[in-house]
Symmetry: C2
Subunit: 529 residues, 2 copies
């Protein structure tokens, strides 16, 4: 079966006639046009849905103003549901958190950082990127959130594997040239020598060699298909005018050295379905999304600093007890509840949903993650290193260094100095902020030198396990049966929603898809109850 899918279509055509052929082509998205992969179908509830059934919209209390909770209240609200959102933090968005100058970062150990970022500088401490196929893009359009490219990969950024013996970073473009060059040399040699004749026809072989010649920029057969470098690696002096053709970047490392460096191990990242460029971000900060949701929902429907203390499922409704911003205990009753809080926080909240639900809520494991935002006095990565956005990957405990996807050519800028999880995140989380900064800078200097320390203006770090009412970056399930399935169904009149109930954990799209599923189920229930 080739890209033409001709075989399959011919079969359908033969058995079903031209009509069936074209219907199938349409369904496959092949002809007359190529369509996107289908997202899970969603029909938003509408006010008119109630007309035929004679039923009315219900009152719903939504627990948590993260992305799942906001999307739930937004979609139900469009149909006329009377929604109230309770949120323990003093802001909407949950892990979608953009930090700007003046914002406070208080962690569970009691420490507080006050961000001293300059005007126009922001730090997306949580989610930072959107893939084009994700439903988040649709919500951005619907809510009027302006988008720009998030620079998830950049040929000018570096790879630096210290443990593999590298003592200097290498640019992604150079690493790709070398790895693809040697891979092509090796495969061309093997194929031409007949080693793959069991797998390749003569025509396959010819086409493969033609591909490898270009892909690896290797020599011809007479030269042994040798990879010897070339302009893709970069230049020591760039091409210019007059007698300046450009000076190649040398030396070209040996095949053994290239594979020993491990640079090629990084390449898979940008092939991932959820990470391949192009990626996007809202202009001005990721929190444009929760802010737009909150605006559409109506701020009077959202109670901030309202911590849920008890959930009681009743025969004909739900009662939620919470502590309001004054510290007073209050109660709210509704027809339904959508619990869109992290499962491990729900597991600590008193409820009457039964031991199976309680065990299920305690099932997923919580992952640590941390990020630091480093504001610099000047954009030295642009002026000194010709890096405009993108990500440097390293085996240092930083994992990555992100260069900003906004403010190109400006005065100051914010670099994400680490974004790591697991053990690295835990070890940085255990440090007070000044120590985190110091350690991040010490490591980053191995890549960028003394200016990485000397040009620093200020920084803020977030350890997600230490964030009140969140206490983790995301969760993982031991399996997708049992607990996961149980919580994907309502417990009495309490429905659950969150990225943790989707196959896109740690993505806002997961929270949004889960909210849509829950909204659909709740609405169906109201229409048929």
């Amino acid at each position: 079966m080739s890209y033409s899918r001709r075989g399959f279509l011919t079969t359908v055509g033969a058995t079903g006639g031209a009509g069936a052929l074209f219907a199938t082509m349409g369904a496959l998205g092949l002809a007359p046009t190529a369509e996107a992969a289908a997202r899970t179908p969603f029909e938003p509830p509408r006010p008119s849905d109630f007309k035929l059934t004679g039923r009315g919209a219900k009152k719903v209390v939504v627990l948590g103003a993260g992305i799942a909770g906001l999307a739930t209240a937004y979609e139900l609200g469009k149909a006329g549901y009377d929604c109230t959102v309770l949120e323990a933090l003093d802001r909407v968005g949950g892990r979608n958190w953009t930090i700007r100058g003046g914002d406070r970062v208080t962690e569970l150990d009691g420490s507080t950082q006050v961000a001293r970022f300059s005007d126009g500088i922001y730090f997306n401490a949580g989610p930072a990127r959107l893939a084009q196929w994700m439903v988040t893009m649709d919500y951005a359009r619907e809510l009027g959130v302006e988008l720009e490219v998030f620079t998830n990969s950049n040929a000018q950024a570096y790879i630096f594997n210290e443990r593999a013996g590298m003592t200097a970073p290498v640019r992604w473009r150079t690493a790709k040239a070398d790895v693809y060059g040697y891979v092509s040399e090796l495969l061309a040699t093997a194929a031409d020598g007949g080693a793959l004749d069991g797998k390749l026809t003569a025509q396959d072989k010819e086409r493969l060699l033609s591909f490898l010649g270009g892909f690896g920029a290797i020599g011809n057969k007479a030269s042994g298909f040798a990879y010897t470098g070339g302009e893709r690696r970069g230049h020591a002096v760039d091409p210019g005018a007059g007698e300046q053709p450009g000076t190649p970047l040398l030396p070209v490392p040996s095949l053994s050295d290239v594979f020993a460096s491990g640079v090629g191990q990084r390449f898979s990242f940008e092939l991932g379905y959820d990470q391949a460029m192009l990626m996007f971000q809202p202009v001005g900060g990721m929190d444009a999304i929760p802010k737009a949701f909150a605006h559409a929902i109506g701020k009077h429907r959202i109670s901030l600093r309202s911590k849920v203390t008890k959930i009681t499922d009743l025969p004909h409704g739900v009662e939620v007890e919470y502590q309001d911003k004054t510290g007073r205990t209050r109660k709210i009753t509704a027809d339904f509840c959508v619990a869109a809080m992290p499962p491990h926080i729900l597991a600590r909240t008193p409820h009457n949903l039964g031991p199976d639900v309680q065990a299920a809520l305690a099932t997923p494991t919580v992952t640590s993650s941390g990020k630091i935002g480093l504001e610099y006095k000047r954009r030295w990565w642009e002026t000194d290193e010709d890096i405009y956005g993108g990500i440097t990957n390293t085996d240092l405990d930083l994992s990555v260094v992100w260069y900003p996807s906004y403010g190109y050519g400006g005065r100051r800028g914010l670099v994400v100095g680490y974004y790591h999880n697991g053990a690295n995140a835990d070890s940085y989380a255990a440090l007070p902020h000044p120590e985190r900064e110091k350690r991040a800078i010490t490591q980053g200097m191995k890549i960028h030198g003394a200016k990485y320390r000397d040009e620093l203006a200020t920084s803020v770090s977030v350890a997600w396990k230490l964030q009140p009412h969140i206490e983790g970056a995301w969760v993982g399930w031991p399996s997708r049966t049992g607990a996961y399935q149980l919580l994907n169904k309502p417990a009495g009149r309490v429905h659950f929603a969150g990225d943790w109930l989707s196959y896109m954990i740690a993505w806002q799209a997961g929270a949004l898809e889960s909210a849509r599923k829950t909204v659909t189920e709740l609405h169906q229930r109201v229409l048929t109850d």
Copy 2:
């Protein structure tokens, strides 16, 4: 020599001591920091340069307000030179041309199109992208031109090779998954089978197999290192909430079909030193660059609609005759002239620079190129196909389809329906605009279906060989000796500048580097004359 460059540095260290070692490391940009490739050094002329020599700034007439001419007048002007720029067109920028609603496109055949684009829609008919390492980025910073990402490649865009038998486009991400998968399967099989033992040590082989496992997402040795598809290819139904893990995009074509389709032949483009992402563009249109230059130079110094008709090198100056906007012939005298016009236009302009210069000006061959800008009533590539920016590559006579790098999620948008050169450009150039549009739409429907025709609002096309006073897209030299070298030197008091005198032909950076070279030489001459 590995990425650590340790061997080389150790040698230097041994012979020169630690001081020499660190000096060398600094020069190589290895430690303590990694630096960019050097651009050709440039010291802008400054007013203070004249103090020591007792000389004064001179009067310079610049021919052409393209990028080279503007940069020349800008750099000389900063040092106090009295510059006048003569430009035949009614705008600055030359081939840097952004077309908006109301703009007129008149071609040499006498035809005129009036652009009917909506507000906010623009079409970069000439240059459209900047590489990070190019000096154009530095000028954007210096001139305050705001930049954003130009989406030069996108995993969601397509490859469609009709002549190779494809009947439907395939996304770049799918093509990469399949090509890398089969390349990895083949190379792992060959290496593991011992076919490359002459080139690989046991350790090399182990590392190579580890790399290929991830790069190709292939099976292990027991499964014959088989490539069998996977999530990188994309999905028929995307991952979602609850019981929706995502449905893989099937079927996976055979190795023979993948290489027969030729999709892999497209991959080299994004590895090029000048084309690898990330690329950039000015916000609001490429002409932000010439406009900023013109503003900095002072508009009173630029005479539009002023066509040069004669260049006379004199013993102590230069006289330039031109036809002004009223049609009157005028003369301007200056100490020096910088001719920053296309060489084939200069070759037609009377001058007294001698037969060698004349022969040299007639030496380069002129390349055709054409672009069409298609404004659509809705952004169907985003809403229907999840393509936000990027480029579809095809062997159709369109060569490429570009999706816009601005206005994501908005209402309307402008697709570049072709950008081709050579024979394809000539054959479209020979058609009146409505026929160009019709042909481009007919071809593009093979990729995007009927909406490519039905949703079209309006279009504008530019055939560069038919553009008055430009008459070509760029030029090529038969060699870099002889004519190229001659014109890289002044002819009397006439200096030349343009991308055609650089190793970055067809790039604004080439024009800028050439202008810097010419400015430097002219200034040195003034200081030492």
